[in-house]
């Protein structure tokens, strides 16, 4: 006979799962933020056609887009310690290798690295087109009064890029919140991790997964609202109340 859904149980566990929201948000926000920096770097490498680096950047973005995040996560999780040990032993830094035992590193770190690399790859294209769409005339005007290229980037280009890329950044953050649910595969106890643990403890998987879906859904709706408000605010300060 089919068991009935236990709503009280569901609610109790939903609260329990909710206590891990900070871990999920922390991971998603930090990874998106660092991903923006990485994406910006890749975008600039491509725009300025930096020799050699641009080919690496192209291959990197293609790899990030062409492989599942979960695979990337495992690659980082197993690959980084391996690379660290290989490098340190190759250069005879055994004491360094021992003192920084990579196996002691928190799994959240590997998740952060993976999600940063992933979002950096995806965002680089968004940011590149946003940078390239800034009107050349403004850049020439900035040059004509003697501003250096880096100042122009900082004072004229990036502020406008931030505005035009904002909707995309919002979407990326929301995808990221959902993607971080994979971090449980490397033992990060985030929202999904908490759900999995509760599931295997109580064996009432359906209630638990309903609860976790409600948590993610609420979180994403909340973020959507935040971005809608921020976007509106930025539009108003930029254009005044004229529109």
């Amino acid at each position: 006979m089919q068991k009935e859904l236990d709503w009280a149980f569901l609610w109790k566990n939903l609260i329990q799962i909710g206590t891990k929201i900070p871990t999920t948000m922390y991971l998603a926000l930090l990874a998106t933020f660092l991903g923006v920096l990485l994406g910006l770097f890749i975008a600039l490498v491509k725009i300025y056609k930096v020799p050699v680096l641009r080919w690496i950047a192209t291959a990197y973005v293609s790899f990030i887009r062409g492989t599942p995040v979960l695979v990337q996560l495992y690659l980082v999780y197993y690959g980084m310690p391996w690379a660290f040990l290989t490098v340190t032993s190759k250069f005879g830094l055994t004491s360094l290798a021992e003192s920084f035992n990579p196996n002691n590193i928190s799994p959240a770190f590997f998740a952060l690295v993976t999600f940063t690399m992933n979002s950096g790859g995806y965002l680089s294209e968004t940011l590149r087109s946003a940078i390239e769409s800034i009107d050349r005339g403004q850049i020439e005007a900035a040059r004509s009064i003697g501003l250096t290229e880096s100042r122009i980037m900082l004072k004229i280009v990036l502020p406008q890029v931030a505005l035009s890329a904002l909707p995309n950044l919002g979407n990326s953050l929301i995808s990221m919140v959902k993607d971080t649910s994979l971090a449980f595969s490397v033992m990060v106890i985030d929202v999904m991790g908490a759900a999995k643990l509760l599931g295997s403890k109580t064996l009432r998987y359906l209630e638990i997964y309903i609860a976790v879906s409600i948590v993610y859904w609420t979180l994403c709706i909340f973020l959507e609202c935040v971005f809608a408000v921020v976007e509106k605010k930025m539009k108003i300060t930029k254009r005044g109340l004229a529109e």
């Binding site: 403004q138 020439e140 005007a141 900035a142 004509s144 009064i145 003697g146 004072k155 505005l163 930029k238």
Partner: protein, 260 residues
């Protein structure tokens, strides 16, 4: 004493030679107007002066230094751009900054002026171009004429040796042109020297000391303004004036001819 001197400036885009052996000396206090048919190289000439287009050959002398097109470093180019300022046909205002922000940026970030002082200077210049009341507006809230006056204020704030203007009224609706022309006449008193590219012959006539007539990338003649309009010394300049005048006096007829 001269404010800027061009020596043997040439510019090619690929195989296409757009400017050839341009020599020009603008003395202190002088206003030069550059006239010539469309595509003759006027904009390119202006843009070569501050290296927005790097000339293919030749040199620009200003502020006691000679910047050679072949050897100029980015530092040299910045130096040259500090000697000059430019007003653009399409205004090219910084969309992310207010009117004051547009005028201030060069003062704070190039001249390293303290923010408070920079703001005070900017407001003074905005007052000069009649835009005090728009100080906190964004460019997208202004009319074309107002935007161009901000462009002029932004350039003036840099206290350039030479102010360069490339068809400052060509993108404006007819009823806004007068406003900007008046503004240029007014600020002409403040600047050390000015080179303006314009299609407004009447304006060039009252504003400029010297007319530089350019065609096919070469300076065909460089004459005192009064003389240029009364009696240009070359055939090509005479034709240019005749054509422009016809268009000016009887636009409908020209339009009619085009329509046929």
């Amino acid at each position: 004493m001269f404010m800027i001197r061009l020596a043997g400036i040439g510019k090619s885009f690929g195989d296409k030679e757009v400017l050839r052996d341009i020599n020009l000396t603008v003395d202190t206090g002088k206003i030069f107007a550059v006239l010539g048919p469309s595509g003759s190289g006027k904009s390119t000439l202006l843009r070569c002066i501050n290296f927005l287009e790097r000339p293919t050959c030749g040199a620009v002398e200003s502020g006691g230094r000679t910047i050679d097109a072949k050897t100029a470093t980015s530092r040299d180019i910045i130096f040259l751009r500090n000697q000059t300022a430019m007003v653009f046909q399409q205004f090219n205002l910084f969309q992310n900054l207010t009117v004051t922000g547009n005028v201030m940026l060069g003062l704070t970030d190039v001249k390293r002026m303290d923010r408070r002082e920079a703001r005070a200077v900017s407001l003074q210049i905005l007052d000069r171009v009649g835009l005090s009341d728009k100080a906190n507006s964004y460019p997208s809230q202004l009319s074309g004429g107002q935007q161009q006056r901000v462009g002029i204020a932004r350039a003036l704030a840099m206290k350039p040796d030479v102010l360069l203007l490339d068809e400052p009224t060509s993108a404006l609706d007819p009823e806004l042109i007068e406003d900007v022309l008046q503004c240029i006449i007014k600020v002409a008193e403040d600047v050390n020297a000015m080179i303006i590219v314009t299609h407004e012959l009447g304006f060039a006539k009252i504003l400029a000391d010297t007319i530089v007539f350019i065609d096919n990338g070469v300076i065909v003649e460089q004459t005192d303004t009064t003389q240029f309009f009364q009696n240009p010394s070359t055939e090509r300049a005479r034709d240019f004036l005749k054509n422009s005048l016809r268009r000016y006096l009887n636009p409908s007829e020209t339009l009619l001819q085009q329509a046929i």
